[in-house]
């Protein structure tokens, strides 16, 4: 008789740490693929699993191996049909029969494996330089609240469902024929009545029979419990995501010719981060994309990031469009309104005044938060970094910044600059949570 060991209950994921080592090793390449996916994908899709191609660099395991295109070999193959010795067979191009090395690499190419949400976020956060606490917050899934969901055969004693338990017990008692108390009582009464009369043999036998039946019923009662462990049912609870209020996020972007590929990429990361933050806090997050040149228009995400449009720059049109949409679809009483605006700062000089008016007069009252990022050239960053001088829009917004605490503005030249825009937002988070 062999020794049997049941290993099925052993901890799984024995390879998990090897997987992590592998990901760490291929980090640079994975980061590149995740970033490409963020650039090409939708904002809301960052926060999930991603399939990425198998990295190539840094993970080769070299060994000495024969070059397929050298020397003379012999292959022994089965299944000859018509060949005779000396026959010549043309080679079917490179990587054909026999030489296995060239074929290998291509087949590895279409390997895509899935990164978990956590791993994706880790890679996405990498050069945003988020503080650890914030990262942790963003990686957390919504808070859950237990919700009743049927019954379970196991659970904690506090969750016993008495009604269901008793119903089971009742059914079982009927099925197994547990004697009722009334039956016993009836026999006891009969016995008492018989014992009161003067005894004779027939009577004695009758009493004996009744006693026996009484004992039998009593034993049976004892054996078939009133409530058996198998009857017990517990209330089952399913963790449900905590219902939160809804939020809408307005993405405003200047798409005039001055916004190039780099600017749009930075803007996108900025929007992604805000979106991640919002999805953590609100059960439902809508995104509205408004792009503008000298006129503004609500568009879908694809158009927002990839279609170019020529024209001048009139920022106020975007703010007006946003206001119109809020009035139409997102009443401030039901929605938490967040807005993020990205621009290179160009604007018609006269229009900036109008922007101040719109923001101060209407929008800031409606918005939870309004973040403005100005994307500048890396070379300019040290010139503009600290001064108040700047583009016309920057100067105009500076006045709004002073008046409204829920307004944030920042110049961004590199991914690492994005987070400080949100600092206020993240810092306020715990306080907001309590009130929510």
């Amino acid at each position: 008789m062999p020794i049997f060991i049941d290993r099925r209950l052993n901890p799984k994921d024995k390879s998990l740490s090897n997987r992590q080592r592998f990901l760490k090793r291929a980090r640079a390449e994975l980061k590149r693929s995740v970033r490409n996916q963020v650039r090409e994908g939708r904002i809301a899709e960052v926060d999930r699993e991603h399939a990425v191609p198998m990295p190539r660099k840094d993970i080769t395991e070299p060994t000495f191996s024969d070059a397929g295109d050298s020397g003379r070999r012999q292959h022994v193959l089965p299944g000859n049909r018509t060949y005779i010795p000396g026959e010549l067979i043309p080679k079917p191009g490179r990587g054909g029969m026999g030489s296995s090395s060239p074929g290998n690499k291509e087949s590895e190419d279409d390997f895509r494996f899935v990164l978990s949400r956590e791993e994706v976020l880790d890679l996405f956060f990498e050069d945003l330089e988020l503080p650890d606490l914030v990262k942790l917050n963003l990686k957390q899934i919504l808070t859950f609240k237990p919700k009743r969901a049927g019954f379970a055969a196991s659970g904690s004693p506090t969750n016993i469902n008495v009604g269901r338990t008793m119903r089971n017990s009742h059914g079982r008692r009927i099925a197994l024929g547990r004697p009722k108390q009334a039956q016993l009582d009836a026999i006891a009464r009969q016995l008492a009545a018989l014992e009161a009369q003067p005894p004779d043999t027939a009577m004695r036998e009758r009493i004996m029979a009744l006693r026996e039946e009484f004992d039998h019923l009593e034993r049976r009662r004892r054996r078939i419990a009133f409530v058996d462990p198998v009857d017990i049912r517990f209330n089952r609870f399913d963790p449900q995501p905590q219902p939160n209020a809804s939020a809408v996020m307005f993405c405003l972007m200047d798409v005039s010719g001055s916004m190039g590929e780099r600017e749009k990429d930075l803007a996108k990361r900025f929007f992604v981060l805000l979106h991640l933050f919002l999805t953590r806090r609100y059960e439902r997050t809508d995104i509205v994309f408004i792009r503008h040149t000298h006129e503004a228009k609500e568009v879908d995400e694809e158009t927002f990031f990839y279609h170019t449009q020529s024209g001048g720059t009139v920022v106020s049109t975007a703010l007006e469009e946003m206001h119109r949409i809020i009035e139409q679809r997102y009443p401030a009483t039901e929605w938490n309104i967040y807005a993020a605006q990205a621009s290179d700062g160009d604007n018609f000089a006269t229009d900036s005044e109008r922007c101040i008016e719109l923001l101060g007069g209407k929008l800031m009252r409606l918005c939870q938060y309004f973040a403005y990022v100005e994307i500048i050239d890396e070379r300019e960053s040290h010139i503009f970094g600290s001064t108040e001088n700047g583009t016309s829009l920057w100067r105009a917004y500076s006045t709004v910044d002073g008046k409204w605490p829920n307004f944030q503005m920042k110049r961004i030249a590199a991914p690492a600059d994005i987070y400080p825009v949100f600092r206020e937002l993240f810092a306020r988070q715990p306080a907001l949570r309590k009130s929510a």
Partner: protein
Amino acid sequence: MTAQAQKSELLFSGADWDFKKLSRVYDEIEAIGVEELRLDIYPVQMEVISSEQMLDAYSSVGMPLMYQHWSFGKHFLYNELLYRKGRRGLAYELVINSNPCIVYLMEENTMALQALVTAHAALGHNHFFKNNHLFRQWTDAGGILSYLEFAKGYISRCEERHGLAAVEAILDSAHALMEQGVFRYHRPPKPSSEQQREGIRERLEYEERFYNDLWRTLPSSQEADKAGALEPGMEERKKSLNLPEENLLYFLEKNSLVLEPWQREIVRIVRVIAQYFYPQRQTQVMNEGCATFVHYTLMNTLFDRGRISEGAMLEILRNHSNVIFQPSFDDPRFSGINPYALGLDMMQDIQRISTEPTAEDRDWFPDIAGRGDWLDTLLDAWANHRDESFIRQYLSPTLIRKWRFFVLGDGADKPHYEVASIHDERGYKRIRAALAQSYDWGASRPDIQVVDVALLGDRHLRLQHLVKNGITLENDSRDATLRHIRNLWGYEVSLAAIDAETGATLSERWTKDC
């Protein structure tokens, strides 16, 4: 009534398995195996695992315990992908050459499959591991698990002490040389350090006692003079370092100038594991053939005795024929010769030759034809052969015809393959030789040896690649591997390609150039 009696004869019915049934089936199979096939096995330990655990085991080279390394994570991802996409099924079992012999059974298997797997792994492979001379010589079945446990613990302690990156660097480099980390031709030198010291002391004493200054005055021969002038002390150095050395890992472990003791130990661990797997690489056809032959024989015996039902037998046969399926070379499913099929066919062929030989068989195998003692022949083959010698000895013309083998000559510089031999009178021996040659694992891998070290100069390590049939090394992987050797050696390394036939140096590659 008869139906019931028959039913009680069956070892199991239905698809579900439980431990009682497994145990009953194992006892029965073992009894038959030992009785009828005279198998000699290690005690068996059966472990039931889930498919995920099977994937885990795949990625750590099939061992239940393994140290941690990113490459295992990579293999895990590949295997998982292949499995999830349905491109590859998982093995029904995994068996480890250890004492007790560990057999993994997948929980998804039906009872019939578990019986098949038990016969295949717990009897077939087990017998082969215990009796084949390669395994007996090169592996320590009793000690491997505790060695792996030691290795795992040792490496994780090193990681704690020296950092993940440092350990990883050593492991990467050592892994690159795993194929060059085995002794192919001789046993590793094994005197304990005490014996060694004792030996050296004795030798010195002896030399002192018999020292005679007169010998110094003898004129040296011309030969020695030439060699000495060319490179002084080369012969001595080679002798003291045991050069040439084919086991690069062994050489580096013992002689590297930069490795610290813990690094040497890690190199040693990788080398020991490489050596442990070396017999398996050389006996694929035999090992699988032996296991397949055993399960086929045992299952049929069980069925003949009425111990398993027809339904179960059908399932077993279906799986059996899947396992030994061999598509021909022009089939899209062809991916080389199936070792299960070739092994089983050869062993059944030995049975046939032994019991009902043809005239041809009598010519080819006068020793075994018609003697009826096929089991003795098989037991002897299982114990004393490896793939290469087994095929060279026992591949019969009948089988060559059945498989319709042919040999294809492939010169890299020619636009055509040339059919060299087919299954005819002139071809049998050549096909047999070529097939045997292709299973000689040692000969089919690049032959790379340490030939010299400039210990007094720049400590430059010279390697030599013996180029056979003009087959050179693939450039990128060669350079990358050389860089790994340089990491372990610490100084410049060069690899010279020497033509095996002419002895001419074809090329030389230095690490400083790559």
